[in-house]
Symmetry: C2
Subunit: 390 residues, 2 copies
Amino acid sequence: MSQGITRDSMRGKPVDIEPSRLTVTKTTSPKELPPSKSLIFGETFSDHMLRIPWTDATGWGAPSIVPFSTINLCPGTTMLHYAQSLFEGMKAYRHADDTVTLFRPEMNMKRMNTSAQRLLLPTFSSSALIECIKALIAVDRRWIPKEPGHSLYIRPTLIATNSTLAIAPPKEALLFVIACPVGPYYPQGFKPVPLYGTTEYTRAAPKGIGGYKLAANYGPCTLAQKCAANWGYTQNLWLHGPEHWLTEAGVMNLFVVIKDSGGVTELITPPLNGMILPGVTRDSVLALARNHVSGVKRLGGFPDVIKVSERPINMGEIIQSSKEGRLVELFGTGTAAIITPVERIGYNGGDVMIPTGEDGMGPVSRPLWTELVGIQMGAVKSDWNHVVSK
Amino acid sequence: MSQGITRDSMRGKPVDIEPSRLTVTKTTSPKELPPSKSLIFGETFSDHMLRIPWTDATGWGAPSIVPFSTINLCPGTTMLHYAQSLFEGMKAYRHADDTVTLFRPEMNMKRMNTSAQRLLLPTFSSSALIECIKALIAVDRRWIPKEPGHSLYIRPTLIATNSTLAIAPPKEALLFVIACPVGPYYPQGFKPVPLYGTTEYTRAAPKGIGGYKLAANYGPCTLAQKCAANWGYTQNLWLHGPEHWLTEAGVMNLFVVIKDSGGVTELITPPLNGMILPGVTRDSVLALARNHVSGVKRLGGFPDVIKVSERPINMGEIIQSSKEGRLVELFGTGTAAIITPVERIGYNGGDVMIPTGEDGMGPVSRPLWTELVGIQMGAVKSDWNHVVSK
């Protein structure tokens, strides 16, 4: 029995999330859809939300889709004081033929369960929650923008809700899912960003929580991001330890492309050593690149020969490869922006320049982006797409 | 201008917390006081709470004391997703002559402001918030238990309340203060606790947030505490790095007493290196010991000659001093329990035994505890007591 799936003591069965118990209460005052051009990430919410309560004694309660409404917490609620909160980010896309899909939702569900275990919050059946989320998307289908590059951002969240100031495993929790229509992250096309190499603050540490999508990893990051912004950088690059290992860029995973002295291209991303979030886009980029290498599916325009590495890389290696003209590109990956090219890294009082292509993307990131967006928008067939409705 | 103290743009003045704007709305249905014996830490709340809203545009709003009631948050509220939350813990004591005091509240306010700066939440005037808290305590005066060792635990909390999924400095916040009557942490007298030396998880890292009282430091700790409990230990001891430096015990600061080869007693606590919470009780223990050493105020029963050190100490030194019979005692300090003696440390598959006195306390912790409790309960005069009402 996995942690948190409690048993109904009268009947001896685990009480998991049960989609058949889902109830739907539709809003009587649906909002007007905002113009897609006006959308700002995370500020517009759809008409409904999904709520699933949990208690230690009774397990998961009946899921309900209800009008978007406030969450009312006793001021002593444990999550207000101790950050017993975790979340996921995923997107529903509307294809040209009006099919609606989620991109690899089982990856988000798996990570959400891993996060829940880390915080001693309840776990659940991934497929059951996906089914409930599909029902929410169906109810709020009109909120999925039609324009290319647009999507409905889905935010599953799990918080501890029992009221006590004792620091202990949660006895009550609430899983809720909200949705935001969002536009493309770079409406004017790709613009490579400058990153500030942060050595003044630490995002994560070995054996810490950096590899989990917990609320606790995000709020404390804003100070480093603000410092980077004050110095004219779009985001910060988390450099770990005295060796200045590259870990994450803001809240994105990070890829570096270098050539070795023999001219062979290497696509490098830091390994999942507990300090790196196991990003869905990170995993997808690695899978696409490895499928190219193995011949399962060649990517048009991708380097013929490429080595795919999950290994540590530090600023010393970046600078060395830059000096020797072997640095090809550097980019971030994440659900929000998919791929974000980087043009320079503020480091040691100067800037390490990163090559970027004419349109902002490089020779490795461009084919990856094309394939990923092609899959997500339905132009490329893939079993990564999970059909919500046709 | 300190971060977060905004200016009224029309008048050019910073808009700080202003006690003169405080309003009081008393409950019409006061709760029955529970028997002091039945109190469980953090589960019983008084009749009222203090609320002070803040916005980036207008600064701090008018403080209000209102009936204890839910906090209603939009599901997109940033603190639900990103742990932009911090808190303090302090106690109001009722003396034998019915005087009510707070213990060094300016220390909590200073730390709360430091925490706020770390999360880019608004800062405020310490004396202004203390004045509002005093008003809350006065309104809920009947909730301060009369019995020795009892107190009213005060929990100031500051959360980001604007509704956006963007990760950015908060634009709206709510400071609230709630109060819980609490009994003595060890109603049956001191019982030394066993600690499990945690090397599987990290609480804090250099340049991280471990030195701030942020919500994000607490929820993630419950897993290590649960592991310790599963193995029969009351709390866990956070051992940092491959050298197994002692840092904190559960959510307490830590003190070690050893004798050097010449027989001189040393009172040691890990230094404030960014991984250690600057505890008020920690600071008070250090101050009492240093006043004893300097002769400002001798402590009855304390070792005549004692060295007071803020320095790193690791498990190697604990084991070595234990083997050589030089380990005198080890104890945790914190607002909740004041002083918690430790009887053993689970480490490397065995237990490192720690000497404890007959009644549970050792020769160094006992005089410290007597003095601290004497001050807090009013038997010992001290300018650490801040009179709330007589």
